[in-house]
């Protein structure tokens, strides 16, 4: 420990001394300075060139979260479908799934990102010749422009009602399950929960008089003004990351299902459970124990791989940190920030997945 500490101390002091000799600025004071550059895409946080570097980092972080969270959701869904598809008894479905997995796993991610970006940005028409599948929706190489509702107080109430509805649904499902365990009587808790989640916000919406003023995108000058746009950079990054990671998740899911003893399938059959119910109630809960640890790795991989966004122009955290490092010259502070953020994100995902793993572990005697 002492030796390691000594070596670490000399690395740090040597670096500090070299920076001093070169008279390179150091310290985190630069975060308060004006950024001076624009960011192409922001998530919830407005940004202009007059804002500080710290705000720029926050925007980058929000962008990274956006692509990581949506990417994880899409990749999990797609991966599970493909994994189960490969186990299907339908020869064509199984073979197609196998081809997908083999191709997507073996082509480097950066190549896939460039591929998707080229397809999206080169094959779509310019904004002046945009395709309009529905009135108010435009598809061009500037992105997918859709109308959004203009902000209204009713929407905040609806959000609150949605949260209450979700809490109510979870509570109701737990109560119904306990009641079933005690008395054996079943309630359609799925449908009732769904009614709660959708019903409460809908009721409020109608109560406010159904306010639906749309902000439609319109071609003005160079681009579409108004509405929201899904940029080609975000779409390409999402497509590339999800499709690549889904191939790995497919194999993990397949491994998990294959790890469950064949006897479990036969026991479920002998109980008269139909195939899909058997999957949901008997097989998948046991398969999850095998699936969750490698799945954690894949989620972490997807989050870290999102830093490749800098190659296709999506302004994520690494891209903005690179620009900042270059403009201020403070490479060490910039890298330290990137490392700290990714470490925090990765540790959080790990902690959550470990907690989930504990929850679904077999209690009592092993096996």
């Amino acid at each position: 420990m002492l030796a390691a500490g000594l070596v670490l101390w000399f690395f740090v002091s040597n670096t500090a001394r070299n920076l001093e000799t070169l008279r390179v600025a150091s310290g985190f004071g630069f975060l308060a300075r004006e950024a001076g550059f624009e960011i192409g895409e922001t998530t919830f946080i407005a940004f202009s060139a007059a804002d500080s570097y710290l705000r720029a980092f926050c925007v980058g972080l929000a962008n990274t979260f956006r692509v990581a969270l949506i990417g994880v959701a899409v990749a999990t869904l797609l991966g599970t479908l493909i994994g189960l598809g490969r186990l299907s008894s339908n020869w064509l479905v199984a073979k197609l799934a196998a081809v997908y997995v083999e191709v997507m796993r073996n082509v480097p991610l950066l190549v896939q990102l460039f591929f998707w970006y080229a397809i999206i940005s080169e094959n779509l028409p310019g904004p002046r010749e945009a395709v309009s599948p529905f009135p108010g929706v435009f598809l061009s190489n500037r992105g997918f422009a859709v109308p959004v509702p203009v902000a209204h107080a009713a929407y905040w109430w609806m959000l609150g009602a949605l949260a209450l509805g979700i809490a109510g649904a979870i509570g109701f499902t737990a109560w119904a399950r306990a009641r079933q365990a005690a008395t054996g009587a079943q309630l359609p808790s799925g449908w009732i929960g769904l009614a709660m989640i959708l019903g409460a916000p809908l009721a409020l919406f109608l109560a406010f008089g159904a306010p639906l003023a749309l902000d439609k995108p319109e071609l003005s000058g160079f681009n579409f003004a108004g509405g929201a746009a899904l940029t080609p950079e975000f779409a390409a990054l999402l497509a590339g990351l999800s499709i690549y990671t889904a191939a790995f998740i497919a194999e993990i899911v397949r491994a998990g299902v294959l790890a469950v003893d064949k006897g479990q399938f036969e026991a479920a059959d002998s109980l008269g459970l139909p195939r899909r119910r058997a999957m949901r109630l008997v097989i998948l809960p046991q398969a999850l124990r095998v699936i969750v640890p490698p799945l954690t790795s894949q989620y972490l991989n997807l989050t870290k791989n999102s830093s490749l966004a800098v190659a296709i122009g999506y302004p994520d955290l690494v891209s903005i940190a690179n620009t900042t490092m270059n403009q201020t010259g403070q490479a060490i502070e910039g890298i330290a920030i990137i490392m700290a953020v990714y470490l925090t994100i990765s540790l959080s995902i790990s902690a959550f997945m470990n907690w989930y793993n504990q929850r679904i572990a077999l209690r009592g005697a092993a096996r």
Binding site: F222, I312, S319, A331
Partner: protein
Amino acid sequence: MRTIAGVAGAIALAFSAGAAQAQSTLDAVQKKGFVQCGVNTGLAGFSQPDSRGVWKGIDVDVCRAIAAAVFGDASKVRYTPLTAQQRFTALQSGEVDVLSRNTTWTVTRDTSLGLNFVGVNYYDGQGFMVPKKLNIKSAKQLNGATVCVQPGTTTELNLSDYFRANRMTFKPVVIEKLEEVLNAYFSGRCDVFTTDVSGLVSTRGSRAPNAADHVILPEVISKEPLGPAVRHGDDKWFDVVKWSLFAMLEAEEMGISSKNIEQQAASKDPAVQRFVGASGDIGKMLGLDNRWALNIVKQVGNYGESFEANLKPLGFDRGLNALWKDGGLMYAPPIR
């Protein structure tokens, strides 16, 4: 445990000893036997490998001049292609000895980045390039446009400043690699491409599918003096690089070129004699061979020859980069 502590102590001593005496880059380069030069990944006319992999360009010629001055052999250079984002870290960390990569001289780079700019080898400004079919005549009509730009450049900052000052907005598409940025612009992802006017002319001439379809707008929105840079705290190397550049300019001013250097070597003109090293010991003052300037002109040529060979074929004219005697800004201090 004691052996580990002993080893750690030895490593620590080695580090402190190494850090205490920062070796001059000139000594390191002379020991290595070549100059490690940081250049662009591929900008026609400035630093780009040709079809046989030989690096050509005016920034490359500055590197070769340094090698000719130090070693008497302009081929003793190794090139490191650097993107705009990598270039400063590469120089700061010692990965390259000199950065000759069409880099703008600004106060931030001169101070807080720890660099020293040796001079200017190309006076430039920032401009905009748009497709002709958009029918734009001036940069003031660009409100709301999508602009392709590379990150970590003065271009990015000047762009924001210009649009803010003129109360216009724009959407940036920020891509690191030059090839990818150009792909995005030529495929129509952005309406405008912005960089130094020299970069616009160069890429329009060399990369556009049809150069006539693109027009460079008349507004030049900034000053971009491009020049080589070295690290802080290294005066000897700073002088060598600076005077290598000035030697090329002074040679053109005195009329010495690679074509007549042989006759000039025997000249009776005292100024020429000092330049070629026949009299005085300027070479010794710089820590180089006395024939340093002679070697530069013989193997690389003077500034005018470098410009003619690299930039003229792409459609550049001397403009601001002519000698001060011809109405331009190129002025070298006297070699005496």
